[in-house]
Assembly symmetry: C2
Homo-oligomer: 293 residues x 2
């Protein structure tokens, strides 16, 4: 089953995707739908049909309670970033306002603020049910489904502090979507391929099987310290091939098109645009910062 | 004006605090109240009065859109942690579920998971209006008020990754409250004193004037990359005196009472309790980790 949140009559609605059609569901978005224990039954119900218009697809969960992200989770990317395989998932957070849709613009910083804009295609997990203190086997039952994301990163701002947050949460910079696919449609996850293209040229290619921590590991880990809620998102880290890992770094520029594709999950197609001018020079980077991942 | 969110008839309500009385306001919490441009007028209105019962005070904003926290912002604490004064605010995030109330329990990890529990009294800023690309002077107009928080930190989990998140977001570990006080009641902020006590013994004492970045600086900085929303919280970092900075470290234990007091803002009084047992041994710390701030 493929489930989306779509723009409909100046609001959002949950919907099932069937080929080129949508079936509208009685919930304002996927988070509200997932709050029902019988969400699978509700999601399979009949409803008003209309053509699928990808321009009107919102992020599957437009306002999650939590967005967790892994920093270093693909072995080839860890090597590229010259880092060690972490003993525990390296987690940071994003905010709902950081998200954008499957065809929405990726808003880069104004050119006077940063030009070090990088791509990071990522598998994104959607949580179902409330989860606290689950072992990985229990945690697996709390995977509602998977979608695609791109953790666009502003590298010089990311490197300002080891917490990385300020490079990762720029407004409308992280596309997610186009829909969530339930695990029963995916078979062996390890063979799913992630491909990121910039202006039609492949820049990242990796396999889900290269991940150090699987979705159920990260749900289990996070549930050791906090209750995960229905609709929470987990971005699972990126494969090798980032701009940061190349010399010179081919940073993303306004006007470029980023395509993020994962086998069986569809694709994101987002144009980069330039964000608003800063209000003050005070927060600009004064000198070359060392780059970290 | 002092504004709180209180438990009332199995829900929450915004309320004005007047001495030992509450005046109930027509909003479910302070975040909803702050979403109105005329919130100051609404907050000053008449309403049903009832005695103030501190046991029924919720966090002022129980579910903020964003919780931003500063890692290193008091000069004496930076020295204690043997770190440099940061050029930019060192930001990380918390989740709504990490918060607890002014008299609620602080839930520490189960003893088999961690015993490295530390206190960090902090000034907490509440945002009003929507803020994007504000300079510090404009940002100052977006301070709704101030309250008290304690950024209880699980040091070995914090040290697992430089992103610090996993030490900072434990469920029901961060008390906030008891109410928000508007800036007009506070006069010169620099002379406000922060005091943290454990079982009646002073462990931290610092002045707001020792902060590297003021509230308006951090609002301005964050607004360079994302829109701050009404009710967003910013925890402003902690003064010196943490357990981490002492040898041996007198970690917090279940049964201990933490009092967090800031001049003119009231006080938090929270008992430490032990959290639930883990579901798996997989995520336990295997060896002594180096401690970082």
């Amino acid at each position: 089953m493929r489930l989306a949140t779509v723009l409909h009559e100046s609001a959002t609605r949950a919907a099932r995707v069937e080929g080129n059609e949508l079936v509208l569901l009685p919930a304002k978005d996927l988070r509200e739908l997932l709050q029902h224990a019988d969400w699978r039954k509700r999601a399979a119900a009949n409803g008003q049909r209309q053509p699928l218009d990808l321009a009107k697809v919102a992020p599957p969960v437009p306002a999650p309670d939590k967005i967790l992200c892994l920093g270093l989770n693909f072995r080839e990317h860890i090597a590229e970033a010259k880092r060690q395989i972490p003993e525990f998932p390296a987690l940071f957070a994003k905010f709902p306002g950081s998200l954008t849709s499957a065809r929405g613009p990726i808003v880069l910083p104004h050119r006077t603020v940063s030009v070090q804009n990088d791509w990071e295609i990522e598998l994104c997990v959607v949580v179902q049910g409330r989860v606290r203190n689950a072992d990985p086997e229990q945690a697996r039952q709390h995977i509602a489904g998977f979608t695609i994301s791109n953790d666009i990163s502003v590298r010089d701002w990311q490197a300002r502090n080891p917490t990385v947050l300020t490079g990762k949460v720029w407004e409308s910079s992280t596309p997610v979507g186009p829909w969530m696919t339930t695990p029963d449609e995916l078979g062996d996850m390890a063979s799913l391929e992630l491909v990121c293209e910039v202006d039609g040229q492949v820049v990242q290619r990796g396999l889900v099987g290269d991940m150090v921590f699987a979705a159920e590991d990260v749900i289990s880990y996070a549930s050791a310290f906090i209750t995960l809620e229905p609709g929470d998102l987990i971005l699972m880290g990126t494969p090798a091939g980032t701009a940061m890992g190349r010399t010179p770094s081919p940073w993303l520029r306004p006007g470029q098109k980023v395509t993020s594709r994962i086998s069986k999950l569809g694709e994101l197609v987002n144009e980069c645009v330039e964000g608003p001018a800063p209000a003050t020079q005070r927060w600009l980077t004064k000198k070359k910062e060392p780059q970290t991942s």
